[in-house]
Amino acid sequence: MPAGNRKLVMLKARSLAFGFPGRTVGRDVAFGLAAGEVMCVLGPNGGGKTTLFRTLLGLLPRQAGSIELNGEALESLARTRIARLAGYVPQGHAAYFAYTVLEFVLMGRTSHLGVYAVPGRQDREVAERVLESLNISHLAARPVTEISGGERQLALVGRALAQEPSLLVLDEPTSGLDYGNQVRVLERISRLAESGIAVLFSSHDPDHAFLCAQQVLLLAEGRALALGPPADVINAQTLERLYGVSVRVLAVEGGGHTCLPALRP
């Protein structure tokens, strides 16, 4: 994505407050996410990351502020319209029934279908293309109940991509994955952004923000502690405030940063 281009803002939040009836989880969150950009949300357990994502997707009513998706007020958009704009990869999926991976990914096509329609050849082609792009074509006929956690995570990503969204929201996409698969998911995120998709994801590892995000939002006790490019925002002070542990942020030779926690004796 060439710098200086006026990019389309896919997702915009202004003085957003979110939570559950009778309990506010977070407030005063504001950010804009442009097409082709990756934003990483960091924060401790229970910091409100999932609640924020659910609110941004209209799955939970917001308590104050405004959300714009693709320049339109979120509340003015019908469910099917939101589903065509934004794909959601939730944190893990409990598979109840033995749908095949292909059927599972095809469910991502639902918002493109008429109410009474079943997926047709074109939908099948989209699903097969998505499986191929994720290198999981070989899983197409396997039941989702019988594949590994990492493979299921990829199937979830595939289902969201089958929505052909302009925005992808991934809730801790690397949780429960081995090191190699974590790196692969981050690579995938970078590549999706290069293709013009806006990506919002949460993680427990600040290095993930350094590796593939242009923006990082630090979320602690329901408030935005900081928002900006990872190199500006992630430092010893903010990480100490965020997680209550001391961490050194080291510049790496050849570019980039990495976090090194200091263990207390």
Partner: protein, 328 residues
Amino acid sequence: MNSRGLAYAVAAGVLLGLTVLAFNVGRFPISPGDLWGVVTGDASARVQSVVLQVRGPRVMAAIVVGAALAAAGSAYQGMFRNPLVSPDILGVSTGAALGAAAAIFFTVDTLVVQLSAFAGGLAAVGLVYWVGSRLRRHDPLLALVLTGVVIGTLLGSIIALLKYLADPYNKLPAITYWLLGSLASVAPHDLAAAAVLALLGLAPMLLLRWRINVLALPDDEARSLGVDTTKLRTLVIAAATLMTAAAVAISGIIGWVGLLIPHAARLVVGPDFGRLLPLSMLLGAAFLLAVDTLSRTLSSIEVPPGVLTALIGTPFFLWLFALARRSW
């Protein structure tokens, strides 16, 4: 033909064979030739009357009730994301039973009993749905199931009270008989009414077959895929309830079909609702027809089919469960 097509063909063939067999056994056997005679109009008046007035309605009732219960069970199991759910989960059978028991208590008219059973089934689910959707602080599915269980128990105790108060010489046996289920006295016009109502319930299930799959996902996921889960769930509950209430109104309580048959069908064709529904219906029809035929031929007194389904269903279910390597 692929393996799925083969499964449908085998199930349809078994159902057809069982239908011919069901006519052929009993106190007045109707041979396949006689059956053909009825179709062409060459049969004797006696054969005509047995086929059209007695055995025909009973055979058709077994097919309609079996198919309806299996269809409703398939929809409910997917929607509640639980393979151990039966169509009774929201109290349709208990409501119908209470309706029937109350009607038997006060009248002798079969039509009133059937209508009351039908209305009782719808009313019970309506009540459960109304209460369940008011418990907003909880997961909507959990609220529904829990409400269904407690209201079902409440209705059950009212049935027990009615049985306790009923005249033990004529009313109590009639109530007990109804609760055990029977297809012995289904009249052609009752059957036609039930079949029309069941088809009305089937239509939305067929039309929405793809979306019903998405309803089997966690609520957040289904909504993020563009499905209005509350609306769709309400519609599916209404459709399944209509089918079950129509079936139970003419047959009485017949368990197991709605629980067992969707399992068996899912093992063969997988969980996709568009493929599951037709096979479930074929297998449900065949199973209940086989059970009903056994129930009227095993001994000189009829074994209630509601009892036989459990006697056959329990070992079959356990065998299936032990056999199934893959999950549902």
